[in-house]
């Protein structure tokens, strides 16, 4: 579990956050946070969160599942609204896709920062990826720098919390390679936006995952071999 330094790690249950957790565990004692925000595959993601946590023997008092369903009520995203279809993948588009949940990562980080301050943690890890993030504005390092400043100004003077984005400049293929190096439990991760049993293979998230495993010359362990 590393040294005594503590960190809060945001763990959605997808590939990126799983590898981010493996990286955090090299240097920190971790507490992990997961958000339900009314996404279609909420239960499947929570299952991934818990099985990954079990894999790493993270005790239940170091797991926090928070309710952010207001993000679904506020709407605006195909991820949370049943009346907006999840689009078929279009990896070449520069547009912000309809799966964008407004300011989602800020909502997650605010909760993580509150917990981090309470725990005396020195860092928050988030597995944001700038290149492969489909253009979501809250996946860019500039946003995390701005948010880190807001945390610094808005918490007790003795509280110093870094936001660490260890994979933000990696391609998804490199993240997968890194995951295999670290023996990260990629077989327990879930990425699909649409289904909860077998990946749909058609949404942006499935398409990115499939392309990345191909580029990494690796077999995706969640698929039949």
């Amino acid at each position: 579990m590393g040294t005594g330094k503590k960190a809060v790690v945001l763990l959605s249950g997808g590939l990126d956050s799983c590898v981010t957790l493996s990286l955090a565990l090299q240097d920190y004692q971790v507490a992990i946070m997961h958000a339900n925000y009314g996404q279609r595959t909420e239960d499947r993601e929570l299952e991934a969160f818990n099985t990954i946590a079990d894999f790493y023997n993270i005790t239940t008092d170091h797991r926090l599942v928070i309710d952010q369903r207001h993000l679904a009520e506020i709407g605006g995203s195909a991820l949370t609204r049943s009346d907006i279809p999840v689009p078929e993948a279009d990896l070449d588009s520069d547009e912000i896709p309809s799966t964008y949940v407004p300011f989602r990562n800020a909502n997650l980080l605010s909760a993580a920062a509150a917990w981090a301050e309470e725990l005396g943690a020195a860092a928050i890890f988030i597995g944001a990826v700038e290149e492969d993030s489909s253009g979501y504005p809250d996946c860019r390092r500039a946003f995390y720098d701005a948010f880190e400043t807001a945390i610094d100004v808005g918490t007790r003077s003795e509280t110093k919390i870094k936001i660490i984005t260890p994979i933000i400049n990696l391609s998804k293929a490199k993240i997968i390679t890194k995951g295999f190096e670290l023996k990260s439990p990629l077989h327990l991760t879930w990425s699909c936006y649409l289904n909860a049993d077998t990946p749909c293979a058609r949404c942006d998230s499935c398409a990115l995952r499939e392309r990345a495993f191909r580029e990494a010359n690796a077999h995706d362990p969640i698929l039949a071999s």
Copy 2:
């Protein structure tokens, strides 16, 4: 309802947010947000929110009540934990009091910003007060400046949302005077941290309110005359 410009107003149901709403209504079409975060007087505050909203004929589709109970789970505050007593008022202390909820306003602002982006709103109003805020670090304008930058960087490029803190430099007595000028429904507000029927008259929030009405030479309309 002012012009066509929209704003999201955070409305706890206390004095400060009530006067802030009255100020916002001078220039904006408003949508109001309230958070339940496991505070002891949650139901009473929600009642104040709804009666103030009724007073101003704000339709239910412009009201949003969000769940931020993770702030209570995270704990650390006498406002949300039954095992930490709400302290008796000490208005001369420079310490951050035990009623501090870590990074609470950032959690509220993140949700407000998500809604504001979805509504195309130009502003978020929050009734933070620097002087009377008992030293909470997330009540200072420097924090709102930092958070405004984070919103700017973390949302769509066309989204521009100002955080307006119209009473941040006012004393509570001046806020009350302003409220009477604007015919703000101060009689519907609730401030006490402890009780839900009659104000305890002993917590920080009651003490600040009592002192402020005295300084404003006014009778508090929620008290028997």
